[in-house]
């Protein structure tokens, strides 16, 4: 049995509806289970449940919903599309809700608008290089451990689970992952101070909450991004505020 949040748009109130989910195989993914329910709703002349999804292999970051109170469901390090029905039992009631955060208004049902994440990146989540002028790729050696740490942070898929899981709806894990990746690498150092200040400022402006070290984000992140990135963000931010020429 499914209890699903249905809401027609951002300006109208939503509520839970209950639907039966029958003939569900344990090998199905969670989204395939919703597909099956939607096929039936369609044939019954009802409006199918809207939900975002695309690659269905855990990398595009498009899918996501709160399942029984957990972002992306009960499995650790798993996106919703990679959660399989074998983790549920016959007869379970499953509650499905969208990400809930002021910065992520609901578009319809389980679909939310995460463009605030793009706003944070465009505040400074890049290295300012134009195409064409780069030196030979091997001209700057980077220690393997540093490259690996940067890669750990870069693995973020921008799904928004960290925000949904945080009691403050903070985007610190997301923001810190990008700041960390670029601050760790020599290429990112010239703009590190500016980047930290601008991205954090933007994050606040977009109504994301503050970090109060609840660690819920790390626990629910499908890519298991570490909160040590938040510590690095704080260091970068402080450093930028204290000693940098940029204000």
């Amino acid at each position: 049995m499914l209890k699903v949040w249905r809401q027609k748009g951002s300006h109208v109130n939503g509520g839970f509806e209950t639907y039966p989910a029958t003939d569900i195989s344990t090998d199905m993914s969670f989204l395939e289970m919703i597909d099956v329910v939607n096929e039936q709703l369609t044939l019954d002349g009802k409006d199918p449940i809207a939900f975002d999804h695309d690659c269905r292999e855990g990398i595009c970051g498009m899918c996501g919903a709160v399942i029984n109170g957990r972002a992306h469901g009960p499995e650790k390090g798993t996106t919703l599309c990679q959660l399989h029905m074998r983790h549920f039992s016959n007869g379970d009631t499953i509650v499905i809700e969208p990400w809930r955060a002021k910065a992520f208004p609901i578009v319809k049902d389980l679909v939310v608008n995460r463009s605030a994440f793009d706003q944070i990146i465009l505040a400074g989540g890049y290295i300012s290089v134009n195409t064409g002028g780069a030196p030979d790729a091997n001209s700057i050696p980077i220690a393997q451990e540093i490259a690996e740490l940067a890669m750990d942070a870069a693995a973020c898929i921008g799904c928004g689970a960290c925000v949904a899981a945080c009691p403050n709806a903070s985007a610190m894990l997301f923001t810190s992952a990008k700041i960390s990746q670029l601050a760790l690498l020599p290429q990112g150092k010239p703009e590190a101070a500016n980047r930290a200040l601008a991205m954090v400022r933007k994050m606040d402006e977009l109504c994301f909450g503050n970090c109060s070290n609840e660690r819920e984000c790390e626990a629910e992140c499908p890519k298991e991004i570490s909160i040590s990135n938040i510590a690095r963000l704080n260091r970068e931010f402080l450093k930028a505020g204290l000693v940098s020429a940029v204000k």
Binding site: L31, A50, N113, T131, G133, A134, I142, A150, M151, Q187
Partner: protein, 636 residues
């Protein structure tokens, strides 16, 4: 009529010479030009960013909620470049040759050579963007060898190379959005292209949130909308990947080239049920260490650990001693099918073969293997609930990539003036089969290093009348799109759109998949026509056009697939040879390998739309090889 505009002169100097000969746009004039880029994958994202850096005003569209989600993100294995950092004999010439040969001599020499040339610039640029490629202990970039190559030229970022390259392009794109040179239009689907005086001048899109039909005008349109592998229903492509943008361009006069060149990837997780919505690829880098085998006796039901070494058939190693498990994708796929057709397939359905890491674990230790393939093994375990370090993985081929696409010349412009096509959406560089780690290379080459030059040559050279979106051509396109949407919503039948798509996939996989024959292709054509007819009578598309309506989005895409599939089958029928991803059973060597017919089919087949009631017209662009000798591919 089809002029590829390949520059004259020696192969290695063509691109340099051409860049010099292309007209330049005065820097002050660039800001007056608007360029539409549809798609934000590796090709679209890199093109939009690079064009904006030059000073053009770019309007960039995508169907997802953010440009960071395009399907390029799912590419796992890596990106090729002719850096020769490993000192193992690589060169631009070798990358060129491998790509031409891998493509079974059905691509253009000049395009492929340019691709190999700019491959090195891509790596430089991506490192400068902060992409955390894998590195050696000394701090230099690491490489691995990849399906079909005997040198180590593949750069990678764990099993997430596509993600990292895409996020690099996305970050450059966001920088341009911040600078006001790019306007981003997410959750928009291109539904038609607008042609005025034979020139592409804009697009009509549907706003997927409000349902509004919007018109956007420009001086040139760049399509980077990916491939059509989802025509098979089950594929490794993302759910929203579709043919609609390129197919609508085809219906507006752009030629569609080589639609029958589809790539079936050998290492995917096998199908397990009818509800299945997509297939998951396991990077073929696994074939570097994994050994492919099946039981020697057909119908052997024993679990893999109970089949002794002597009763296992390592058929790839046996048949291709020099390449072994690393034979190109088409060869590996066909052999897997052949084994299963003989009844030697494994797993519940019998449509799977083993990919076994046991020997590699014994040789290098579990830790080394985990470091190389950790995330792949984890993904496999999540999906199948089976541990690949203990039990061999089961794999089976799946539709994965398409080499066919809109016809383009050396400038990546289609036969429609002002319509450029980049990345998987064009046909240009991979011939009849793409080598591993070459898709990322081509997408980024097109976007970062080709289009910034060639589009300037077009804009500086062509006269275009001043128009606005009030022009009759925009009105007409809007009307067509609105009417079609209304029609889809009013069918009100008894079958869901997905159900039609599933059936279409079955038809193509059965008759136009890894192995094709004339009789099957003819049958497929009839079945597709019947299915299409039923679709317009019996599909059920719920909801309204003025709303966020995912069923309507899918219906439009499936309706296009139902038309396009026929073109694919016709192209396969016309090509009376076997080459790369196109294998017609009537044309094979004594060793059962693909037999090309260079005498009669050494050409690009480019199809021109002639109206819904007529067959399309076939145009041929002869392929001229001046620098390589056409040989029968052999991986023995």
């Amino acid at each position: 009529m089809l002029d590829a505009k390949i520059p004259s002169g020696p192969l290695a100097e063509k691109w340099d010479k051409h860049r010099f000969e292309l007209k330049l746009v005065n820097p002050a004039n660039k800001r007056k030009y608007t360029i539409i880029v549809v798609g934000t994958g590796l090709a679209g994202g890199s093109a939009a960013a690079s064009l904006a850096e030059l000073g053009y005003y770019v309007k960039n569209f995508c169907v997802q909620d953010s440009p960071r989600r395009a399907h390029s993100i799912a590419a796992q294995g890596g990106i090729n470049a002719a850096k020769n950092y490993q000192n193992d004999g690589d060169s631009i010439r070798r990358l060129f040759y491998d790509t031409i040969k891998g493509g079974d001599f059905r691509s253009r020499e000049a395009n492929v050579y340019r691709l190999a040339q700019v491959s090195n610039n891509i790596i430089d640029h991506c490192v400068a963007q902060g992409i955390p490629f894998a590195r050696e202990y000394g701090g230099l970039l690491a490489n691995r060898s990849f399906g079909g190559a005997q040198v180590s030229r593949t750069f990678y970022a764990r099993g997430q190379t596509g993600q990292q390259l895409l996020l690099g392009a996305y970050s450059s794109l966001m920088r341009q959005v911040a600078g006001g040179r790019v306007s981003m239009f997410p959750r928009r689907e291109m539904l038609d292209i607008v042609v005025v005086n034979g020139q592409a001048r804009g697009i009509v899109v549907r706003n997927l949130v409000t349902g509004e039909i919007e018109s956007h005008g420009a001086d040139a349109v760049v399509l980077c909308t990916g491939g059509y592998a989802n025509v098979f229903y089950l594929s490794t492509n993302a759910m929203a990947s579709n043919v609609s943008a390129t197919y609508r361009a085809y219906k507006k006069g752009a030629f569609f080239a080589n639609p029958c060149y589809t790539q079936i990837h050998p290492t995917c997780i096998p199908v397990h049920g009818t509800y299945q919505s997509k297939l998951t690829l396991m990077s073929e880098s696994l074939r570097n260490d994994g050994r492919v085998w099946v039981p020697k006796t057909p119908g052997d039901q024993r679990p893999p650990d109970q089949i002794p070494e002597s009763e296992r058939d390592y058929y790839l190693e046996e048949k291709y001693p020099s390449f072994g498990n690393l034979v190109p994708r088409d060869v590996a796929s066909r052999n897997a099918k052949a084994q299963c057709d003989m009844g030697k397939g494994v797993g519940e359905t019998g449509f799977a073969v083993y990919l076994d890491l046991a020997d590699a674990i014994q040789r290098d230790g579990k830790e080394v293997i985990q470091q190389k393939y950790g995330n792949l093994c984890q993904m496999y375990e999540k999906i199948t609930a089976s541990n690949p370090y203990e039990t061999p993985m089961m794999i089976y081929p799946a539709s994965h990539y398409v080499m066919g696409g809109l016809w383009v010349d050396y400038n990546l412009m289609s036969n429609l003036d002002g319509l450029f096509v980049l990345g998987e959406a064009n046909f240009s560089d991979h011939g009849a089969n793409r080598l591993g780690a070459s898709a990322l290379m081509q997408g980024l080459a097109d976007g970062y290093f080709v289009i910034p030059y060639t589009i300037g040559g077009y804009l500086a050279g062509a006269d275009r009348p001043e128009i606005t979106t009030d022009h009759a051509a925009f009105k007409e396109a809007t009307q067509y799109v609105t009417e079609r949407t209304r029609k889809l919503l009013s069918i009100n039948g008894n079958r869901t759109v997905d159900d039609f798509h599933r059936e279409l996939g079955h038809i193509l996989w059965e008759y136009c998949g890894m192995s094709r024959n004339d009789e099957g292709l003819l049958k497929a054509r009839t079945l597709i026509q019947e299915l299409r007819e039923e679709f317009w009578k019996n599909a059920r598309v719920p909801g309204s056009s003025q709303d966020f309506n995912q069923s309507l989005e899918r219906a439009g895409r499936v309706a296009d697939f139902l038309e396009f599939a026929e073109l694919l089958v016709m192209d396969a029928f016309e090509r009376k040879e076997s080459c790369g991803g196109h294998f017609n059973e009537a044309y094979r060597t004594e060793e059962q390998e693909a037999r090309r017919d260079d005498e009669n089919f050494c050409h690009v087949a480019a199809w021109e739309y002639k109206g819904d009631d007529n067959d399309p017209e076939l145009h041929k662009e002869p392929l001229v090889f001046e620098n390589v000798e056409l040989t029968q591919r052999s991986y023995k």
